[in-house]
């Protein structure tokens, strides 16, 4: 790989913030509170923290370690790195998932990012405030209508019901372009520099919203029970079925499944992103403390900010029914239907609409959270095109831009009921992540070997991984993952397969993903001989034992 100049992170804080920025996204603020409130409240946190320790953090360390190891050979993409570690074609081709997942998720995630930017702009101009009306009873229904019109959820196509191009399309163009400008600038000048600026701004915005929510008190004297403390109780009181002790919630498999899924998806493990980011580290850079710091930063945004803002605010203004409905509405329902109605209820201070300011801060923060994530989804494929096909940054950015624009256009055009988005999210953004995570944990714990893996992880490490994690990574994590995956399949697959069998947009989305998968697999097949030659050469040059070729 000597012919290809090597990119590196500029600072250790930069890489931590970039990985944390990749993990912190809409799910931290919108999915986590809904999942917790619906699955045992405070009791949800027991399986949540167990999954964090048993699956998520060990997987983070494994991904950081494998990524830095692959970087030693000049590789930055999952297929190349997995090939180096596994030393055969199976592992190299299993790395295709590390390209398919981030690219597939990016195709719809950049659209969600556009929603956040569009909503922030609407609060800035006051447009959304005007459209939600002046009658509090109509805020919720008007909020739903605004969302449907904004994203074109009423019908397929690019035009909204009232005529004209959907507003979200304009914001999609802006966010899509911004992502590629930043990614073109490279690791240090693009991603790192942006994350170092965006993460602190995001934190400040989140704290400002948090302070506003926690100081709401009892805004409606006619409903004294709708106060902040009771809002926190709605979120955090442990609960099971009616009349049952709260710990009965822990006997519910759904609670465990929800908690494990939340931790797993929240930390961006199984995406192939951490492997790629860590490959730009120097060989003596710490990975253990950095991985733990990035994971804990994500947890801070999720538990300490996401857990205190959204549902308590919804409870204070909308009561139990509104907060329950918001929690059940999932990420989109809570974020884009319920919360705009909540912000409208916020009292004026000296004739000043605080809800409008809070709404702007909230959606701008979500936009920053989303863009730091979407940037990380592009980099693995950029790295692959550069090192696999030997093309330059400009050509790889152009090629990836074309691929993702086509995929994203499919999601935007087939916007009715958000079926295309939901289908891609299910298969690539959920199912494939489980599969890649299992591939990675087996590759690290069994193929690379847990002893060798720990030795590699501890090179330059600021802290040591406790020895019992060897057992966890080798036995507990794969088993835990497999059991959750089987349970998840049993719960979700039958309905999804029926949806695909019915044809229509769901089937079209699957065909788009299949085409992408085949295309990426072919590219990996083309890149294989090139990598094999380079790996053997590197092994000889640097004195590493020469494997049997990838």
């Amino acid at each position: 790989m000597a012919s290809r100049p090597k990119e590196q992170w500029g600072t250790k804080v930069g890489v931590i913030l970039a990985v944390a920025g990749s993990a912190v996204g809409l799910g931290n603020f919108l999915r986590f509170p809904g999942q917790a409130a619906q699955n045992g409240g405070g009791a949800f946190m027991i399986p949540y923290f167990l999954a964090l320790v048993l699956i998520a953090i060990p997987m983070c360390w494994a991904e950081w370690t494998m990524g830095r190891y692959g970087g030693r050979f000049g590789f930055n993409s999952c297929p190349a790195i997995f090939g180096v570690i596994g030393r055969n074609k199976f592992w190299r081709f299993s790395g295709v998932l590390g390209l398919l997942i981030p690219v597939g998720v990016y195709m719809y995630y950049v659209y969600l990012e556009a929603w956040c930017l569009g909503y922030a702009w609407s609060y800035f101009t006051g447009d959304i405030v005007n459209q939600l009306g002046t009658a509090p009873a109509e805020y919720a229904s008007n909020s739903g209508k605004f969302f449907d019109k904004f994203v074109g959820a009423e019908a397929d196509g690019l035009t909204s019901a009232g005529g004209g191009i959907q507003s979200a399309v304009f914001f999609w163009l802006i966010t899509f372009t911004l992502n590629f400008i930043l990614i073109y600038r490279g690791i240090a000048k693009g991603i790192e520099r942006f994350c170092i600026i965006a993460m602190p701004i995001m934190t400040v915005c989140a704290f400002l919203v948090l302070i506003r929510v926690l100081t709401l008190g009892t805004p409606d004297p006619a409903h004294p029970e709708q106060n902040v403390v009771n809002g926190l109780a709605f979120m955090w009181n442990p609960k099971a079925g009616p009349g049952e002790p709260w710990w009965y919630a822990l006997a519910d498999a759904e609670v465990w499944l929800a908690a494990c899924g939340q931790v797993f998806f929240s930390l961006s493990v199984g995406f192939g992103i951490i492997v790629n980011y860590a490959s730009y580290l120097r060989q003596d850079d710490d990975v253990v403390l950095s991985g733990l710091t990035a994971a804990s930063t994500n947890e801070f945004f999720e538990v300490c900010l996401g857990g205190l803002i959204t549902l308590p605010a919804a409870f204070v203004f909308l009561g139990v029914a509104g907060a329950t409905s918001g929690a059940a509405g999932g990420t989109f329902g809570l974020g884009f239907n319920t919360l705009p109605a909540v912000f409208m209820h916020m009292p004026e201070v000296g004739g000043f609409q605080t809800g409008r300011v809070v709404g702007f801060l909230w959606f701008f923060m979500l936009f920053l959270a989303a863009i730091t994530s979407s940037l990380s989804m592009l980099q693995p494929a950029i790295a692959f095109l550069e090192e696999g096909l030997g093309i330059g940054r400009r050509a790889s950015v152009a090629l990836l831009g074309l691929i993702t624009a086509l995929g994203s256009f499919f999601v935007i055009y087939f916007s009715k009921g958000l079926v295309a988005l939901d289908t891609i999210d299910f298969w690539v953004g959920t199912a494939m992540i489980f599969v890649l995570a299992m591939v990675e944990v087996v590759l690290f714990g069994w193929v690379m070997g847990v002893e060798r893996g720990f030795e590699e992880a501890h090179r330059g490490a600021a802290i040591r991984i406790p020895a019992f994690f060897k057992f966890i990574i080798k036995y507990v994590s794969p088993t835990f993952l497999f059991v959750i995956f089987v349970m998840w399949c049993m719960n979700n697959l039958p309905a999804r397969i029926e949806g695909i069998a019915a044809g229509g947009v769901a089937l079209g989305a699957i065909m788009v993903l299949a085409a992408l998968f085949i295309f990426l697999t072919l590219l990996v097949a083309i890149a294989g001989p090139r990598w094999q030659a380079e790996t053997l050469d590197t092994h000889k040059t640097r004195g590493f034992p020469v494997g049997g070729g990838q």
């Binding site: 992170w9 405070g42 946190m45 009771n230 009349g243 120097r282 538990v303 300490c304």
Partner: protein, 69 residues
């Protein structure tokens, strides 16, 4: 303390509209405190680690691939 925890554990679930229960406070404060302590510890270690001076790369060391392609 243990007896109190056992007593709390055997109380039935709170109804839908309720005030914060003792266990609600316990779960909320424990969760937030533990995450805050963890993240504080991590950043303290990262920022004060004596042997790791920030990597200062020379301009030629940072390649952005935006030239000569």
């Amino acid at each position: 303390m243990i007896a109190w925890l056992i007593a709390q554990a055997t109380t039935t679930s709170a109804p839908a509209v309720t005030e914060m229960t003792a266990m609600g406070w316990v779960f909320m404060i424990t969760s937030i405190t533990s995450v805050t302590i963890l993240v504080s510890f991590c950043y303290f270690k990262v920022l004060t680690r004596p042997s790791t001076v920030e990597h200062m790369h020379a301009p030629l060391d940072i390649d952005t691939r935006d030239q000569g392609t």
